[in-house]
Amino acid sequence: MSDSPFIDIDHVTFGYDSRRTILNDISLKFARGKITAVLGGSGCGKTTLLRLIGGVHAPNSGRVVFDGEEINTADKAQLFRLRRRLGMLFQFGALFTDLNVYDNVAFPLREMTELPESLIRHIVLMKLNAVGLRGAAHLKISEVSGGMARRVALARAIALDPELIMYDEPFAGLDLVSMGVAAKLIRTLTDVTGATSLLISHDIPQCMAISDHVVLLATGGRVVAQGTPAELMSSTDPEVRQFVRGEPDGPVKFHYPARSVAEDFGPRMSA
């Protein structure tokens, strides 16, 4: 196995329009076969980072390198080739609501391979078994809970045994039991398959428990800190401490920038 990073984000700057920069000259490396968690508050560019890696958007400057190959979003053939090597778990599953659980997991196998249906059945049931939902194969998507839907989506994401699995907020909206199950699954899948895992979340305890490397992003798209979970937890940097402890105020202000209280409410209110 090569020592080079599987994903290399090299001085990337990106904004959806010229008025707001989402990612500002960031450089990150995601190691092969490891779980890297990207943490940060809402709007700091975590999901945008996944989209850049998936080739949905092109960076304004800098480059995104996928296993040694720079992603060129204008090259559709390259994009499709690289995307065959990645699986993505969307925040709300993005399951196909007109298909049942079984057909959702079978979908990429039927679309991307020429495998016979009997073999597809075995693979689908194995993947569903890995996420504990073999018995739910016949259920409609409207019949599964949020946590189960996330696990179905995970089974679909790993159906083609991808080399890179990207998880967008896998713990959001889950109860504690489902959250623990999801975290354990991500760790087990990474260990068993050897896939490179990239985890986007703001759930500190779960990410710290299962990740090999953690990156902390701040609003404005800059990297505040990165290192092992233990290094971040013991950091003395005020911004890191505020985030990992969940303190409402600190270097990151609770209030969105606004006019003074006196200007908005009058001098008597501000007194």
Partner: protein, 259 residues
């Protein structure tokens, strides 16, 4: 900003929208052969788009046939030409009302359904999921619906016209008392299969392209919010209906320019 700049901006924005729509349509055409290779998906869409429009098409066709027969009878009796009723009803339905009214109903029933379906797939990130699975959503999702719409429209228009003629028969022959043999024979003599029926089929196929392409474009390009999807379905009905009416005038002028 002066008036000239504002006009320039509006014109440029409109041209950009049309250009974007044209590129989408070309992409759709490029993706269509792949849908032909998986015809099962197209058949599923013909069922979803066509079969579920049957009730409104049959009910509307029957109603139009009833009313057309009554109105034509009153008008033709004035000139002593009531025996021409069957021919006039047939030509009106086959040449114009069948394709046009079916297309307008299609835009309202199936078009909005397509727009909402694609828009909600986008809002639920299903389209994005497909793209990240290296599956082209235009080929997998849009192209089968596009072909399904194009193939459904002539079938629905033919059904509309047939039911309309039968409705006219009920009013003209069974209620008013026009001779049944005359009702059918004047149609047999006066309606040309290629010029009248054939052109009607061509018209409805063209309307199928317009309605389905507009519905898919609005769904695919919608803002992925509840308001965005609602706005997109409204735009589908307005844009597709205006497109059908404009194209009907052009096609009629081309097809029936000589008596």
């Amino acid at each position: 900003m002066n008036a000239l700049q504002i006009i320039g901006q509006v014109v440029l924005a409109q041209l950009a929208r049309w250009g974007h729509g044209a590129l989408f349509f070309l992409d759709l055409l490029r993706a269509t052969p792949s849908a032909l290779r998986r015809f099962g998906l197209v058949v599923g869409q013909i069922h979803a788009i066509g079969n579920r429009s049957l009730v409104i098409i049959v009910a509307s066709g029957l109603s139009v046939g009833f009313v057309l027969a009554l109105q034509m009878y009153y008008a033709l009796t004035t000139y002593g030409a009531a025996e021409s009723l069957g021919l006039i009803v047939n030509l009106a339905l086959v040449r114009e009302l069948g394709p046009v009214v079916t297309a307008l109903l299609f835009a309202g029933r199936a078009g909005t359904s397509l727009t909402a379906e694609i828009g909600l797939m986008k809002a639920g990130e299903q389209i994005a999921a497909m793209e990240l699975m290296a599956i082209d959503p235009k080929a997998r999702v849009l192209a089968p619906r596009f072909l399904g719409g194009i193939l459904s429209m002539p079938l629905l228009a033919a059904l509309f016209s047939t039911v309309g003629i039968l409705g006219a028969y009920v009013v003209a022959v069974l209620l008013i008392g026009i001779d049944s043999g005359n009702f059918w024979s004047i149609q047999q003599n006066g309606v040309d299969v290629w010029r009248d029926v054939g052109n009607g089929v061509v018209k409805s196929a063209v309307f199928g392209v317009i309605c389905t392409a507009v519905a898919l474009y609005q769904g695919f390009e919608t803002e992925a919010t509840p308001e965005g999807v609602a706005y997109a379905t409204t735009r589908t009905v307005v844009t597709a209906s205006l497109g059908v009416l404009a194209m009907d005038f052009i096609l009629t002028a081309l097809m029936f320019s000589t008596p």
